[in-house]
């Protein structure tokens, strides 16, 4: 009964907000008519900074870094988690949220996406993912994140509160950033930038059936990369020693953090040979590395462990790459990596088809299928929270319900891995986040059409 009450209560809140929606509806429709290809600003208002302590009471708390607590309390203040447990002293000025029967999770983290960089895939003008040319190490994703992208509230409503957003391209794609999915500006959303240099390592391995040619082209590509890195090293030395005499070069400049291991190389690599060559290359150039995709990562487990290379699994709802592979190859990959002791996180749909980051809200189901095929539920949830934070080197701030970390968390009405569950409330650094979206707005609008009759 309490559950029902809560649902009603939150529904009432939503309906109140809908009055605001209705007021703005006319305006929105006008914008649609006037500039059809321009990205429009959505209707959700970024949360205000936390002003009072908030205590969530009675929920099952999925702490991730420790066993879950049934009927626990989560207390957070000034954007940080203060206390978690069964017995927590709640300050007098605290706002309390009755959440019995609900589940508290850390905000879900999509380890790699193109959120903010694109709107409608087929409308080029709304797509800022791919810069011209093949070598764009200096392209910086965070400067092109549209905070008013309609895709962001949709992902957020699914519980995804943090995402790495990365550019695309044939070869050297650019630098990614980790963003929080709430804020008035891109700057406000930023959690870490740069987060890595995203490179399509499969471009190093042409799929030629001619071994000789393949060897040649691979070598050619790697030499290009060698040369670029060498030049960047020299550039760094010169700009230190004779800054006035060194002509500036933004490409080379952009590679210095990579060489200084201030950001990792993120190599999209699926096949064994691609993964192996990315790992050995990064090792030989003394670069930090993250593998994205990782379809064959289990076969490279020893190498990955030896060089401490984590893997972002490029989605689990994925067809086998080779005809002979088992139908569940991608489903079982997380559990196989778990067993092999490779560090990994599970990515959402990424930028792949059909929806790409328009489907980022389905991230929990990418973890769920891994659980149906081998992981425990705890491991599956960890793979889209704390494990993702670890891969992105943000584990000190997010990824678990731990005192001292950011109060970036969600309250769901059920097991987040199950489709039917919905997110009821979300907080990013203690700010209460608007869970409305274009979809909910249109739903409300047309429900009105039919309820009139």
């Amino acid at each position: 009964m309490r559950k029902l009450n809560h649902v009603k209560a939150s529904f009432m809140k939503v309906s109140q907000m809908n009055k605001d929606y209705l007021v703005r509806l006319v305006l929105i429709v006008h914008i649609v008519c006037l500039s059809s290809t321009h990205a429009r600003s959505h209707d959700q208002i970024p949360g205000r900074p936390q002003t009072r302590p908030i205590a969530i009471l009675g929920a099952t708390v999925h702490r991730i870094d420790a066993p879950k607590i049934d009927s626990g309390v989560v207390l957070f203040d000034e954007g940080k988690i203060v206390a978690v447990g069964n017995q927590v002293k709640i300050p007098a000025n605290a706002t309390t949220i009755q959440a019995k029967g609900k589940h508290v999770y850390p905000g879900l983290i999509d380890s790699l996406s193109d959120l903010g960089l694109r709107e409608i895939r087929a409308v080029e003008e709304t797509d800022d993912r791919t810069e011209y040319g093949r070598e764009n190490p200096n392209a910086r994703a965070w400067v092109a994140v549209n905070p008013d992208s309609e895709l962001i509230p949709v992902a957020r409503a699914g519980g995804v509160l943090v995402a790495m957003t990365a550019p695309l391209g044939y070869w050297m794609r650019g630098q990614s950033a980790v963003i929080q999915l709430d804020g008035w500006t891109g700057g406000e959303m930023l959690l870490r930038a740069p987060a890595g240099l995203f490179v399509n390592w499969s471009a190093v391995h042409p799929s030629s059936s001619d071994d000789g040619r393949r060897r040649q082209e691979r070598e050619k590509k790697l030499r290009e990369f060698d040369q670029l890195l060498d030049e960047a090293r020299i550039y760094a030395q010169r700009t230190n020693q004779v800054p006035d005499l060194t002509p500036t070069n933004v490409r080379l400049e952009s590679l210095i953090p990579l060489l200084n291991r201030e950001m990792p190389l993120i190599a999209e690599a699926d096949l064994q040979s691609e993964i192996e060559s990315a790992v050995t290359y990064a090792a030989s150039q003394k670069l930090d590395l993250i593998i994205y995709g990782g379809y064959d990562a289990e076969r490279c487990a020893e190498l990955l462990k030896l060089h401490k290379v984590p893997v972002i699994i490029g989605s689990t709802y994925r067809l086998p790459l080779r005809r002979d592979d088992p139908y569940d190859h991608a489903y079982t990959l997380p559990s196989r990596l778990q067993q092999a002791g490779v560090q990994y996180s599970i990515g959402g749909p990424g930028f792949g088809g059909p929806g790409g980051s328009a489907s980022a809200r389905n991230l929990p189901y990418h973890a769920a299928i891994a659980s149906a095929f081998g992981l425990s539920e705890e491991q599956a949830i960890r793979a889209i929270t704390l494990s993702a934070a670890e891969v992105l080197k943000l584990e000190k701030r997010i990824g678990s319900i731990t005192p001292g970390k950011d109060a970036t968390l969600i309250i769901a009405d059920g097991n987040i891995l199950e489709t039917e569950s919905n997110v009821l409330d979300a907080y990013i650094q203690g700010r209460k986040v608007d869970l409305g979206s274009r979809h909910k707005m249109l739903n409300e609008k047309y429900l009105k059409k039919y309820s009139k009759r």
């Binding site: 895939r121 393949r214 995709g293 790459l321 990424g350 088809g353 059909p354 929806g355 919905n422 739903n443």
Partner: protein, 1070 residues
Amino acid sequence: MRFASKLSFLFFAILFSPASFAQSLDTEPVVGLRDIRPNAFALTGATVIRQPGEVVENATILIDEQHIIAVGSDIQIPAGFKRLSCDGKYIYAGFIDAWSEQAVDYPKSIAGYWNKNIAPERSVSDFVDRAADEEKLRKQGFAVRLVAPQGGIIKGSSDLYLLGGSQRSHQLLDHTNWQHAQLTVPRSGPGERYPNSPMGATALLRQAFYDARWYADSLNMQRSGANVSEPEYNASLNVLSRHMHEQGFIFDASNERMALRAEQIAREFSLRIALRGSGREYRDIEALAQIDRPFLIPVNFPDAPNVKNAQSRESVTLRDLLHWDLAPTNPAALQNASVRFCLTTDGLEDVASFWDQVRHAIQCGLNPDTALASLTTVPAELFGMTNQVGTIEKGKLANLAIFDRAFVEEDSRVEECWVAGVRYRVQGNPSIPEETKWRGEWAVGLPNSTKSTSTRIRFEGEGYQISGVMIFEDLSSKSGSKGSASKNKNKKSSKTKELELKSLKVERDRITASLDLSELDAQFPSGISLIPVVQAFLADTDQPEPNPPVLNLQLPDGTQQTIRLKQTSEGATIASKAPSSESADETEEDVAKDASTEETDFIATQTPILRPLGAYGLSEPPAKHQSVVFRNVNLWTCGESGLLQSTDLLIQNGLILAIGENLQVPENAIEFDLKGKHITPGIIDCHSHMGTDGGVNESGQVVTSEVRIGDFIDNTDINIYRQLAGGVTIANILHGSANPIGGQNQVVKLRWGASMEAMKMQEAPSGIKFALGENVKRNPSRYPNTRMGVEQILRDQLLAAREYDADWRRWRAGERDGLPPRVDLQLQALSEVQRGERWIHCHSYRQDEIVATLDVLEEFGIRIGTLQHILEGYKVADRIRQHGAMASAFSDWWAYKFEVFDAIPYNGAIMHNEGVVVSFNSDDRELARHLNTEAAKATKYGEIPEQEALKFVTLNPAKQLRIDHLVGSLEVGKQADLVVWSGRPLSTLSRCEQTWIDGVKYFDIQQDKAVRDRDHRLRSTLIQKAMKSEPAGREISTVVQEEDRWVRKDIYCATHGGLRHETLSQGAQK
């Protein structure tokens, strides 16, 4: 003498029968002296294989001019015939290569078919030129070949040509009785925009046959005196209508599925057909045996797949490995299935490997007589030339292939090829006559030598690989010796000197060498002497002239002495010693070949022919049990009974017989206790493009209602298996969305391992794809470019179909005021729509286009089958309900195109709540694997109760496809299509454990593991074998990918961006 010549004349007269073969009319005036020479030969002493199975030992063949005039073992050789000894040789009838192609121009006349791909009037005879590979073919013993026109869909007729024969290189033997055709788009076509897909090509071909029939009927009607105007002259239809009656059609069948498709067409139009096969016939040999058509079969067995390095090895598929291993068994498989076939050089990269390949096939079980027949009597019969070619018989053309040994023997060689009496000796392919020319020892009477010495030259080796020594013997110590070879041998050790001849070169009539004679004996001059030995050989026979060879000794001082050589020992009696390096190579090669042969046999008997070939294929059909009972299951019936906890389900003969607790079941029932498991109806995907062969769009025209997805089902698509593993039992395979009126769809049941036809759900009513919006208006070079235009296309076509129907009604009612109406497949499909016999599945997004389309359909009294995608359906759910339309949507896709920016995941629930029958579909090979959790999104976003949500992927799509009386729910009497789940069926945490169709289990999660193990073992074995047998250093894979065997082009099927979803894309049609 006179008497003899008279006799021989008589003999001639009796033997010689006038040639049926059209003699080449040499109308060209002779410049200078005429030079006509007699051409009469007697080939003696050979083993003659007159026809397969009929062997005559020690036979003589008499050839006069172009023909054989006698064959037999006791034939007197008349005067005037050159005798050619063929002792030890094997003579076969000259072979017929039943396939080659020639580029031919497309007709330019406007009096031809509107689409130049239909070019039956083309004939190769205007274009055949000296072919570069003619000699290569003769070296393999081919005397005749078929030349077919290249390109086009109905390509034109072929000819048979002699490979040589007269002074002219290419001599027409006769026109064949065959037209050539293919069911796909030509690689080098006439530049037509339509068709651009195999199914479009097939539709065009079908239409052309209907048009040809109509043309003939119209002409007949007019000629029979009816008061109608003659149909406009059409050269293509004129030819085609005649050929349909009088001639056969050879269809390209680039795999076994194409062969079966051609058979469908043949039956549809009662055509006599043959099939140009692919070498893949073994994969479905029973079906191909059943159609009982002759095949032209290539022997281009693939090289071992590239498994040299890890990357290549990973990417090689079990299917390719199996094909590599099984391909050489293909001819034997055809033979054992009693299929009539010709072996051809089709696709052979190197024609010189032809006999190696045939012998490989023989090792794999092909009967040598069948092999011979496939190159002689079978093609002769097929092409109606048995009176001229195919056997060694009196009156036939003197086409002969002369082998040094029986052709089954390893390394046997073609020595000569005779084409219409013209003898071609194989060059560069050393033969025994050349050996006998030189091999042996010859006495040399050297100048200055005393009587007490003997000098000899000995030549050793074969063909052009000859070495020689000069032997000098001092006989002075031996009194009374005659110097015979045998006695000399005894003295070699002390008295004999041997000196190797240097710079030895062999030409056809001479050997040159050099040596320093003084090294033999001091009495000879020192310095390099040249010793060219010249022998005159009889030009025609390769037999040495009775005169001994002559040595022109050119001494160091420049003087020349001519010396006659005298043979002291026969070549044959001297053991030939080939150069050591070569012989070592050969031996090694032989050993390797032997080893691989043994292994081939070993593997070939073990390698299973999986259905379909490759990983996850079945080695035998799935078990069919009469009765099956599932005990104690949670049964999600999707019917009125709702969810039944812990109940029993009894299946009999593929149908649901009973549901209830503690069911009494027949004794023979197979029992499954599935306590704790859940069973749902099989999942039905109402929008799919998987299992198609060669693209899902015919985008060459705006209206392609004549095109049929059902023509191109790919029952080998691995996605069938993958989707079974996700519980899918039925899929609605739709044409793509490239045009407002697309092709006809096909509902299939995912019966993995079954034939193309058996995949089809025959009970499902017909349908057709329509499409609106961005996809169909995006091509700026054609109509329509707007939604306004789309609407008009629909109206215009429905009006046209209405008129078409009226024409036919009048005709059937007996009105004869004009020519008969033409069968128009495009309008026929649309008139079926108007009559309610074909359901429209319309790709649609925006509310305006949805309403406009429903308005148009209502104008014609048509109820739509389904609205597909229908992502703005929630905006006009009332209108949809009012029309009686059903909606098949994505659960939550959006933002991939502008027209789906308003798509919301609440769509399904809103429409459902407004009374519309809603399903969720995949339109995607990956998404189709978890439609159960897609259904859960109706609960997530619209609070649809889960039993109702489950119907979104079971009962509701069944209703939409008008098959809900058969499937879609688990109720007594319905087909037993069901899925066993490990837990709650809509849960992301559940697994599909079994999938059953018609009471037969097609997927089982346990069996799947066993199959993986089987495939892994098979794969490893074959890779080991490939590593051992591939040519050293080979790094290039020569395997033609299954998917590349015909043109596939689908501009509307681009890969999804980003992550690779699979190597081959037949992506979604959103």
